[in-house]
């Protein structure tokens, strides 16, 4: 049983928000409402939830950037609130997006700059920076200014930056935002390799498949609350009784399909229009009944019907009930 290296206990975080430009009324927003969980040494842990769920706030509290309004946190045995100086050298974090880099400096210089911020000795820098550049496939671009980089390149440089101090825990906040599939896959490979070498990874995302693929354990968060926490497998088991029917319906409009399905007491479904064809997704406990219903309904032309097991997204939607 590996040991716990992050302990979060009933943590709350409230923001004061000023509304209006004349009469500034203070409103309080509870971003995190009392969350508890722990992270084990060597695992890849995911925080999953929609925008505004409180994931970023959580990461910021874990990485010393934000002080909780209530509750306690322990990371590597340190309290991030008061022992931030001791904790910071052992962790690092990567925020999603294109900023957080100095566009006037070259890739190499950026890494050297941040290495200095982490007090990494020059001799170590000379070895480690080229290694990291190689890892993220930016060797050739090492001396080019970051302003010339594509989004994917910037993100890769961010990863290199996040690894400069060989962190015991690497935190990532929505790392694949805006990345093309190839870059996103490369990112996942790097993270997996890192993890195999012993780095604990905590990431937030709202891409379900990414969490499914990468994470050992996942926590569902919404509206600042923890909804569920388990391995992806176990989470999917919770909706094992569900199947998902996917089919294409032609010759009907969204409104017609909605009317027909609701008329048959089916209320839980999704319809997407794609090139004059309606793709419908219906989670159902008794798929056979729904299937025969679909074929029996007049005016509906069914094509390409399939019955599958629910994905993590379906689990999430079911458990959280949608955004």
């Amino acid at each position: 049983m590996s040991k716990t290296i992050i302990q979060v206990d009933q943590v709350k975080r409230t923001y004061e928000v000023k509304k209006g430009s004349w009469k500034k009324e203070k409103k309080f927003v509870e971003a995190v409402k009392g969350i508890s969980f722990d992270v084990k040494d060597g695992e890849i842990f995911g925080l999953l939830g929609p925008n505004g769920a409180g994931k970023t706030t959580m990461i910021k509290m874990l990485t010393t950037m934000l002080i909780p309004t209530d509750g306690t946190i322990e990371v590597l045995g340190f309290n991030p609130v008061h022992q931030h100086k001791e904790l910071r050298p052992h962790i690092n974090f990567i925020l999603g997006g294109e900023r957080n880099l100095y566009w006037r400096l070259s890739a190499y210089d950026n890494l050297a700059y941040f290495a200095d911020l982490y007090k990494i000795p020059r001799s170590t820098q000379k070895e480690r920076i080229p290694q990291l550049l190689k890892l993220v496939e930016l060797e050739e671009a090492a001396d080019r200014r970051v302003e010339t980089f594509s989004k994917g390149m910037k993100q890769r440089l961010q990863i290199a930056r996040g690894l400069l101090n060989n962190p015991k825990i690497l935190f990532l906040d929505e790392p694949s935002i805006g990345l093309d599939p190839v870059s996103a896959r490369k990112l996942r490979d790097i993270l997996r390799d890192l993890n195999q070498q012993g780095t604990t990874i905590v990431l937030t995302t709202h891409y379900m498949y990414e969490a499914d693929e990468l994470c050992d354990r996942i926590a569902f968060i919404n509206h600042g609350e923890l909804i569920a926490i388990d391995t992806p497998q176990n989470l999917k088991q919770r909706t094992n009784h569900l199947s998902v029917i996917e089919c294409k319906l032609s010759n009907s409009t969204k409104q017609e399909i909605t009317r027909l399905l609701e008329g048959a007491n089916i209320f839980d479904f999704e319809i997407h229009e794609e090139q004059n064809v309606m793709k419908v997704r219906i989670p159902a406990e008794e798929p056979q009944k729904v299937v025969s219903l679909l074929y029996n309904l007049q005016y509906l032309e069914v094509q390409d019907l399939s019955i599958t097991k629910p994905s993590l997204e379906d689990v999430y939607v079911t458990m959280v009930g949608g955004v």
């Binding site: 923001y15 934000l66 200095d116």
Partner: protein, 262 residues
């Protein structure tokens, strides 16, 4: 030793990253040519009004004032550029000591300010044909370095106000104008009402200008030690205040989450 090297490395890299006035054409225009026009203008003015009396002192004082480009506007980038780049959080959450960090960033601006001032002096001497006694050059260098150090300290305090207010353009221009007014680069402090000249004592460059005039006009170094120790102390106080302000801003950001809003 490693820390020293790191200090200077950061000074150089941060100048490049945050200030980036690298294009020679832009540098010459903005950092040199524009301040020079200011100096020439005021030197011509005082030459006319005072009929050449004390011209050397005024030329030298106006040259010193040219450091304001770096001490106020350059120093602002030390704090504010990170916000523009989006790197502020990462920098603040890194292990390095923030006081040392911001002081390292200030060093290139102190040097830049001195460079601009001396260049101004050279031009002033050439254009106005005044002579600066050779033996005053070394004391002048000393006085100027200390004064510019002090001015940069005040500039850093102003820069750290950027955490609270968006009107930095306005504030920096006010400070630059105030320094020109209060330093007495173009008149003797005695023409100012006493409350104003008392106020000027709390600002940088006032003592530097006074000493510059004394040394260049009359070779009088008697006040050197007293005034320069005061200026040095003032500069140290400014830097200390700015570090406290920056640390407080960092703490507030962690408590209120305000840095998050940017």
């Amino acid at each position: 030793m490693e820390s020293m090297k790191r200090f200077f490395r950061h000074a150089v890299l941060s100048y490049k990253a945050l200030f980036g006035m690298l294009d020679p054409k832009a540098y010459i225009l903005v950092m040199l040519l524009n301040p020079l026009t200011q100096m020439i203008f005021f030197a011509m003015l005082v030459n006319y009004v005072y009929e050449g009396v004390g011209l050397e002192g005024y030329v030298a004082s106006n040259a010193l004032l040219l450091c304001v480009m770096s001490s106020v506007f350059g120093m602002m980038t030390v704090v504010m550029s990170d916000r523009g780049m989006g790197t502020l959080q990462i920098v603040m959450a890194s292990p390095v000591n923030k006081g040392v960090l911001f002081f390292a960033r200030s060093v290139p601006h102190i040097v830049n300010g001195a460079f601009t001032a001396f260049l101004g002096l050279v031009f002033g001497v050439l254009i106005f044909g005044v002579s600066i006694p050779v033996e005053s050059l070394l004391p002048l260098l000393c006085i100027w370095m200390i004064s510019i150090f002090s001015a940069c300290g005040l500039g850093l305090i102003l820069g750290s106000c950027s955490f609270w207010t968006p009107s930095m353009h306005l504030l920096s221009n006010i400070l630059a104008s105030a320094l020109l007014l209060l330093s007495g680069a173009n008149y003797s402090l005695s023409v100012m009402p006493s409350w104003l000249s008392d106020l000027a004592k709390f600002f940088p460059l006032t003592r530097g200008v006074e000493l510059t005039k004394a040394i260049v006009n009359e070779g009088d170094t008697s006040q050197f030690v007293r005034l320069m120790s005061e200026e040095l102390l003032l500069g140290c106080i400014y830097f200390a205040i700015s570090i406290v302000v920056i640390r407080y801003a960092e703490y507030l950001a962690r408590v209120k989450g305000t840095m998050e809003m940017s």
